[in-house]
Symmetry: none
Subunit: 170 residues, 2 copies
């Protein structure tokens, strides 16, 4: 598009092609971002490099995310939420929300299950203790408890050794 008009065909020369690729890719990304900003739409470009690069170039990129945010901030609230419901931003937000929700549920669940189990255990044990405390009973109870503890210890050990990661938050 400049010193010469260019034929719309595959550029045979390798270095020339690379150069053009780089330049045009940059220009294209800019255009995409501009369109997105000016018109308040979600837009995305995906370009696979000529060399078998693993990751294609895409817009929005992390660095451009800032601009997206700026645009969002300059929109009326209603528009914002409407526009929010789109593509990558939406998906990313979805991921974050899902993670948060699951963590919360996880925390609550844990508490819930723990209290439930502790409750059962304590009811069971206290029932035994309060009803009739005979030596024989106590021996049985002690035996049962030790049995359970052994089982529990084994589970803990196996969990400790087989699981590297315990929780995202730690």
């Amino acid at each position: 598009m400049s010193r010469n008009k260019v034929k719309l065909a595959w550029i045979a020369n390798d270095s020339a092609r690379r150069t053009t690729f780089k330049k045009r890719k940059k220009g294209l990304m800019k255009k995409v971002s501009e369109l997105s900003t000016l018109c308040g739409v979600e837009a995305c470009a995906i370009i696979y490099g000529p060399y078998d690069q693993k990751v294609p170039d895409v817009w929005p990129s992390p660095s451009d995310a800032h601009r997206v945010l700026t645009r969002f901030k300059s929109m009326p609230e209603m528009e914002q939420s409407k526009k929010m419901m789109n593509q990558e931003a939406f998906l990313r937000q979805r991921i974050a929300k899902t993670k948060e929700q699951l963590k919360k549920q996880q925390r609550e669940n844990r508490e819930f299950e723990i209290t439930k189990l502790m409750n059962r255990t304590l009811v069971d044990i206290s029932g035994r203790i309060l009803q009739d405390v005979h030596t024989d009973e106590l021996k049985d109870l002690a035996f049962m408890i030790e049995e359970k503890m052994n089982g529990i210890q084994e589970r803990i050990d196996s969990l400790k050794s087989s699981t590297g990661c315990r929780d995202g938050s730690r």
Copy 2:
């Protein structure tokens, strides 16, 4: 870009925004197709219209999509999946994976924490029982246990009433 330099910001005027959108979208699509042709790379643009249209404008066009698909099909499996691992599909998969991971961790965590707590509780209680079982001790123990149970029941109740959703898997 022409009669006036344009500010890179959301165009408030509705019709002006639509016009610009249409023009720039066309230009963008052209650029994408040129880049693809000139440099022999796969490129793709996805643009969601300003009106909440279900289907975004995309390049390559359906007719060009055929070529892309052909190319994918002619690639070794490994390369395919590598390239496939992109864009939306990638993100969606990402979400699924994250969810799965978190659920797994959640499950393991719960078990771990439960066993840990049960262990502590049982150690505490059995220790008391096994050491010296005197009536006074037992009374104290029974009292303590009842106290704890009350507290626990309260927590359970509050959890039950305040939390609608317990777990994604249920």
